[in-house]
Subunit: 302 residues, 2 copies
DNA sequence: CGACGTACATGAAGGGCTCTCATAATCATG
DNA sequence: CATGATTATGAGAGCCCTTCATGTACGTCG
């Protein structure tokens, strides 16, 4: 038995129109075509779908069963086609975001809240990009946007700049380094450095400071959550280097000191990587706008 | 955008099989056919459904949306086709019953209970055939079986005999007619006759007794429910003639008397009318068997 | 890094399927 | 019973889809 949507549409149309001729008009075809079609379908089904004894063709019991299937299936198809129209016109789509930068949760959540409000139809998700390589996944369309501060664009990927930030040193106010005006690589030799549990080439403190200076901290320990890192720092169990935007609560506290890295202040740029063809989609563009402006507001303490 | 089930099956197969070639095998076609098909579908959809950058073809975001539709729709179609197979093999079907004989509820319900247990897949319904002409409805496949005691078979309709019954006189034991051994037409002249609210040609007491004898009862009143008729009879507000099987509770009561119609005892036969082609269906045959045996048990007081 | 194998794309051609047109058969109705 | 409406049938044409043959790109393994 080989049923097609065409058949279901025909069944439904004949039922609604109450006759072949009217149904043919509805479906922009001829009465004869539908007659042939119904005959073929009944052949497939192995039984009559319509009662021919009364002249305006009526559904038989089996025909009603097929009509039921049509009325379940066809709206589903229509909805899908409608979604595809929206997809084509750019009103909807998918925005699955991978974050390589762990601290980015902090500003990403507020941004996504705003975004979801503006584009309720867009399928939004965040995947912590720790477990997999984000850029290849972007290429394979497993995700649609990667938040990263390493600008290494492969072909087909564009890196949209978002905002600049300063990797900032934070320590307990009891720490001797609190006396210094800025923090240099050498200062870490006697310190326990607390970082996110990712490779060094994704940690600003290493890429920007320690690795170039060939300095090793006294010890390194990791914590997954920004709040935990700050807690450990607060109890003077170690020091950390975090993007400035996560410092907004800490700056006002007497328990912590924050210092720029030096001697030259370190500035990094955050990027949102997208596939080339996606960058022009309206909702992607809107997300990028939000991701440019909102974190800056956060850095300024709202 | 013109989607067909073929396309949904293809999408699903490619996803499941993880590649065109394997999907082609699943669907008993060639890799090339699927490639052309996908190309055509993507043309329809106006966007890519698969990511071609990675070699074993993977679904894009839009492709996933279509897969979702496939996974909602295809099981529905499969279920329908399964039902049609069952329908063909006679394991299921529709049994919508029209009853012309109003008192038949009494034995029909128990029969249907048994039937439903044996054929849970069959779509069972009862329509009180008072409002419409049952036999034309049977012909038009609006119903599938008509319970009737008038054997007037039009072409294409078969009347399957079920059982014989005796239209039986029932009255209050206070009624003078309680003295008589049988009840003749003349006896109704002084009586209030209680009947179902249907035309006289469907009431045994008229067709079998009063109309031939040209006797008119003193008065006639109607009630829809058998229980109400018996209640009225019990309080001596009138007399009635009912099939013997409804008397089983009444016979043991001192409040009622039941008498045969006479002088010759009247016997009628109950029929189940079906369309010729349906009579051989296994579940119809089973219903007929039940409808032959069960009412007889009821008549005998279980 | 290069070669090979696998996987998908492409193009042409044939054939099957379905539609159209014309017409016949059948049913409803006055 | 005649007429109009409705469905069925048949033949032919055209289109779409499949197939076959081959090209191209990716992935992988040495």
């Amino acid at each position: 038995m080989y049923v097609e949507l065409k058949h279901l549409r025909t069944i439904r149309a004949i039922h609604q129109a109450g006759g072949l001729a009217r149904a043919a008009e509805m479906l922009n075809t001829t009465q004869s075509a539908l007659s042939h079609q119904v005959a073929g379908l009944e052949d497939q089904a192995g039984m009559e779908l319509f009662v021919r004894r009364s002249k305006p063709l009526r559904l038989s019991a089996a025909g009603h069963r097929m009509l039921r299937a049509a009325e379940r299936v066809l709206p589903e198809i229509d909805a899908m086609e409608e979604e595809f129209r929206a997809l084509r016109s750019g009103k909807t789509g998918r925005l699955h975001i991978a974050i390589e930068c762990h601290a980015c949760f902090d500003w990403l959540f507020p941004v996504l809240e705003l975004f979801r409000h503006a584009w309720p139809e867009v399928d939004v998700d965040i995947r912590a990009g720790l477990a997999f390589e984000a850029l290849p996944a972007l290429h394979r369309e497993e995700v649609d946007l990667v938040i990263s501060s390493d600008r290494v664009p492969p072909p087909g990927i564009v890196f949209n700049p978002l905002f600049d930030y300063h990797p900032t040193f934070v320590a307990s106010s009891l720490n001797p380094l609190a006396e210094k005006g800025f923090i240099a690589a050498e200062d870490f030799r006697d310190q326990v450095l607390i970082t996110y549990p990712v490779s060094r080439d994704k940690l600003d403190v290493f890429t920007e400071l320690l690795t170039p200076a060939k300095v090793e901290p006294r010890a390194q320990r990791t914590a997954e959550l920004t709040a935990v890192i700050l807690m450990l720092v607060g109890s003077n169990r170690g020091v950390a280097v975090l993007p400035d935007w996560v410092m907004r609560e800490v700056k006002t506290s007497a328990d912590y000191v924050t210092r720029p890295l030096g001697p030259e202040p370190v500035t990094k740029r955050m990027y949102a990587a997208t596939r080339e063809e996606d960058a022009t989609k309206p909702f992607v563009a809107h997300f990028l706008r939000l991701a440019r402006s909102e974190p800056v507001k956060l850095q300024r303490g709202f």
